[in-house]
């Protein structure tokens, strides 16, 4: 120690000495232990216990006797029918969403359509609009007391939306943003030179179209895979539109197995395995195609985007009218239906009396979301960091994240229900368990959102800080966090909104007497309290939108301009 202190100037470069080094080692060990405990509690224990129970029904009770009975049960009757429905709905959604998303991306990136910037705004609105809000809007539209009550023919047509048609339509609208974003990225990165070379060398229009489609193939494959996988994993739309019409899908079958009497976790687990078997190939395809697509991108210093197709006046009118009609159908109709049913016909006094339970549900969801999202970001950031670093740990984490994102949310929720109703882990019935589930559900997606910005942080920025005397903590505070502030804020906000609108875990794990927003909405829908349903939907969106705008204002007000301008030059 004396040798170290020999050259250290007294007023700077001071270190912690031997005691400090020992403290750091213990802190590191404690940190690793905590990380392991979090991993086990949030994911490993509940998921392993649940998924293994398909083969070992009493595994959480310590009984390792194996049986294939749950799998046999899942492969016949109701569950098989539900899985079959999941498969054909997912394929139909994929096939319908693909041309729709491609058309929207083409309009946005390759035409001179006036107001085409609005396509992106509409797509983002669809993305953040909760899927069960859309479904709830259709239900209200088709309700006997809804806005179409005076037009029986229209009401009858709207009632077709309650069932598989409505489910497919709603899922198409929910997944089309993903297809749009993938296709848009591909169109942006494709250089004009390829088509120009085809024209100069005399290729016909048909051949040029074939070449363009070949260039887009990775994006199309990825788009289809995402649309297919998201449809298979969806629970909210099925729980809303399917339940009311008796149409069931795999995720709802899992829910019924763990929500009905008697509880049948092994059957739910077996059905989950079969559903995973349908989801996983799509996500693997999407991951592989995504990697290959980035290799074939031509973006560079000499990149020249393809010329836009000039639309004539007639085309502008037609395309614009179709776009507006689509927007009205997708967002306008459900919103207007909800507003129409929510309107206080009996006077504002009725609204006043009806508000408290609505505000309680929204308040509870927001409160849980704020806490869970904050914890989520604290876990997701180091996870994203580890994945961005080269090495075995990063690769393992990447695969684990991918596997968790493949998991339907209802599966994790069911796993929590089974794991934390055991005598040695009796957490069921409290907000803590629900919060844990929210965090477990949100971390994979939030980590992936943060991966990009973290990977873009050049190593030399931290190296420069450390060489010039800043400790790791100081480097985190003065260099990393400011540079990541935007990404952290928006990923936190996204987590808050997705948790506030979350349904599967909320439905299975909410504490008695404290239904979150989504659960309350379903309860009103199930009890035919359509006015309350509509009011909750409108109020929920309004409150959360106001919260998002307030949070954005606070972020802009209290962070230095330089932090927010990073990457914009």
């Amino acid at each position: 120690m004396a040798a170290h202190q020999e050259w250290l100037p007294p007023h700077s470069w001071g270190g912690l000495g031997w005691g400090g080094r020992s403290l750091r080692r213990w802190a590191l060990r404690l940190g690793l232990l905590l990380a392991a405990a979090v991993f086990v509690a949030l994911w490993a224990y509940p998921l392993l216990g649940f998924l293994l129970s398909a083969l070992f029904p009493q595994v959480l009770q310590g009984d390792l006797r194996a049986t294939l009975a749950p799998l046999h049960h899942a492969l016949q009757g109701y569950e098989l029918y539900a899985l079959f429905n999941s498969l054909w709905v997912a394929l139909a959604v994929g096939l319908l969403a693909l041309p729709l998303g491609l058309w929207l991306a083409w309009l946005r990136e390759r035409t001179t359509l006036r107001g085409r910037g609005g396509i992106e705004a509409g797509v983002w609105l669809l993305l953040i609009f909760p899927d069960f809000f859309l479904a709830s809007g259709w239900m209200l539209l088709a309700a006997p007391i809804g806005p179409l009550a005076a037009w029986p023919a229209a009401l009858h047509a709207a009632q077709l939306l309650l069932g598989p048609v409505g489910i497919v339509l709603t899922l198409v609208l929910k997944v089309v943003p993903y297809v749009f974003l993938v296709a848009q990225g591909s169109l942006r990165h494709t250089s004009a030179a390829q088509q120009e070379a085809a024209r100069v060398h005399g290729l016909s229009r048909l051949w040029r179209l074939r070449l363009a489609l070949a260039a887009l193939l990775p994006a199309l494959a990825a788009g289809f895979a995402i649309a297919y996988a998201e449809s298979l994993r969806n629970f909210a739309v099925v729980a809303t539109l399917g339940a009311s019409s008796g149409f069931t899908m795999g995720t709802y079958a899992i829910y019924q197995a763990v929500n009905g009497m008697p509880l049948n976790f092994p059957l739910a687990a077996a059905t989950s395995w079969l559903l995973l078997g349908l989801v996983a190939p799509a996500l693997i395809l999407q991951h592989r195609v995504g990697q290959r697509a980035s290799q074939s991108q031509t973006l560079g210093g000499k990149h020249r985007p393809a010329a836009r197709v000039r639309l004539g006046r007639g085309q502008q009118l037609v395309q614009g009218a179709v776009l507006i009609a689509l927007g009205a159908f997708a967002l306008g109709l459900p919103t207007l239906a909800a507003l129409g049913v929510a309107w206080p016909r009996a006077g504002w006094a009725q609204i006043g009396a009806a508000l408290p339970p609505l505000l309680a549900a929204i308040g509870y969801s927001l409160q849980q979301a704020l806490v869970a999202a904050s914890i989520t970001v604290c876990i997701a950031l180091p996870v994203a960091w580890l994945i961005a670093r080269p090495g075995r740990v990063g690769r393992l984490l990447d695969v684990a994240l991918l596997a968790m994102m493949a998991l339907p949310l209802i599966v994790l929720a069911a796993a929590y229900l089974q794991a934390y109703t055991q005598p040695y882990a009796p957490l069921y019935g409290g907000s803590l368990l629900l919060g844990m589930a929210y965090v477990a559900l949100a971390v994979p997606a939030t980590s992936r959102v943060l991966m990009g910005p973290v990977a873009q942080l050049h190593r030399s920025l931290a190296d420069a800080a450390r060489v010039h005397g800043l400790s790791r903590l100081q480097t985190l505070r003065h260099v990393h966090l400011p540079l990541l502030s935007g990404a952290l804020f928006y990923s936190w906000l996204l987590a808050v909104l997705s948790i506030a609108f979350e349904l599967p875990a909320s439905e299975l794990l909410y504490p008695a007497g404290h239904p979150p927003l989504a659960v309350a909405l379903l309860q009103y829908a199930g009890g035919f309290q359509l006015h309350q349903q509509a009011r909750l939907q409108v109020l929920g969106m309004a409150v959360l939108l106001a919260f998002a705008l307030l949070a954005r204002w606070v972020y802009a007000r209290f962070t230095p301009l330089a932090w927010r301008q990073i990457g914009q030059h």
């Binding site: 170290h4 020999e6 250290l8 700077s12 920025l461 420069a464 800080a465 060489v467 005397g469 100081q474």
Partner: protein
């Protein structure tokens, strides 16, 4: 006094060995340049000195303190009292130039740190741009801010990781001189790595040449030019070649003829060798093509006269160079602005043997041109 002592440094990345038992010492107040191509290990060595990587073998001492070695606690970078100028500047984009220089001085308090930082920026000529952010500065300005930041902390050793490689040619020379002047004015020791031999030879008190993880030679620039230890060192420091030659009975036989071997060559073993020549050994004797007036030739000094084939003429900045081929080896020699010999013609070339560099013959194929 020895400031940096590296003893048999060994570093592996997976199955690749980046450094093979590299040893060197850097004295107080010295600028030591490490020269080598990409992948030679010079950046790895610099990062080891900075503490950004750890040794797999050997030891490293800063002053009297062992900072990295097996069985000894590793001293992290923030405790080594160093300054570093990075190839990509590594300025923190969310901080102004002044704050970039002041942040490492945060222990002094905000006011004192900013005062000291401003003084350092003034020294590199950027006081007027103190409030600008990195994206508002040119490449040269950013690198000067980086230099100010590295020097502001009063490091005992300055590390420079190819600081000029991202700058254009004119700016490079200007900044190289500025770096040398500022470093020497502050009496700071520096370890400077580069792949440009002109930079290393101009700046370094001593220059080390690295190749494939090994330190081939470490000496003064003059010694390096006169007595390169290997053919790689000769080639990498700008010598032309190789030409296959044979030393026999005191005479040196080259593809273009033979002459008496100078004493330093005659002392070598007879047999096949490789010949390298510096530009100073090559003369175009015709006055009409010379860029400068011809030097009086010492006819008693051993020399060759060879015929070189003209490939063309190129303009380099304000001057012209003639591209020649001397038995399969391309040369570039300065010529008068108005000299324009026809491509494909031949020109006599006087080759002085006093500066001939001879190395054992390599196991490479010789071309028809080289057959002796």
């Amino acid at each position: 006094m020895t400031l940096l002592h590296i003893d048999a440094a060994h570093k592996r990345f997976g199955s690749t060995t980046a450094l093979h038992a590299v040893s060197l010492q850097l004295q107080q107040g010295e600028i030591l340049c490490l020269l080598g191509p990409s992948g030679s290990g010079k950046t790895t060595l610099l990062r080891l000195v900075a503490g950004l990587e750890r040794l797999d073998g050997g030891s490293m001492r800063l002053g009297q303190t062992v900072v990295d070695a097996a069985g000894v606690p590793f001293l992290p970078p923030e405790r080594r009292q160093l300054g570093m100028v990075f190839q990509d500047y590594a300025l923190w984009p969310h901080l102004s130039a002044l704050d970039n220089v002041a942040l490492p001085l945060h222990r002094l308090g905000r006011a004192a740190a900013r005062t000291q930082a401003l003084a350092m920026l003034a020294e590199v000529g950027l006081a007027d741009l103190a409030e600008r952010h990195p994206h508002e500065l040119s490449g040269g300005q950013q690198q000067r801010v980086a230099l100010a930041r590295a020097l502001a902390v009063k490091p005992r050793l300055l590390l420079c990781d190819e600081p000029l490689s991202n700058l254009d040619a004119g700016l490079r020379e200007d900044l190289r001189e500025r770096i040398g002047a500022v470093v020497r004015a502050h009496g700071i020791s520096a370890l400077y790595i580069t792949h440009d031999h002109r930079e290393a030879l101009a700046l370094g008190d001593r220059v080390g040449v690295m190749h494939q993880g090994r330190l081939l030679q470490l000496c003064t620039p003059r010694e390096l030019l006169r007595h390169p230890a290997t053919d790689f060192v000769a080639r990498f420091t700008g010598a032309y070649g190789p030409w296959p030659v044979t030393l026999r009975a005191g005479r040196l036989h080259a593809p273009w003829g033979d002459t008496a071997a100078p004493p330093h060559v005659a002392a070598q073993a007879e047999g096949r060798h490789q010949l390298y020549l510096r530009a100073s050994a090559l003369h175009l004797p015709h006055a009409s093509v010379l860029a400068e007036p011809p030097r009086p030739a010492d006819s008693s000094a051993p020399h060759w006269t060879a015929q070189a084939r003209v490939l063309g003429r190129i303009t380099v900045g304000e001057h012209a160079e003639l591209r020649l081929d001397l038995h399969g080896v391309p040369l570039r020699l300065p010529v008068a602005d108005d000299a324009a010999p026809a491509a494909g013609s031949t020109m006599p070339l006087r080759i002085g043997t006093a500066q001939a560099l001879l190395f054992p013959a390599a196991q490479t194929k010789t071309t028809k041109e080289h057959a002796v």
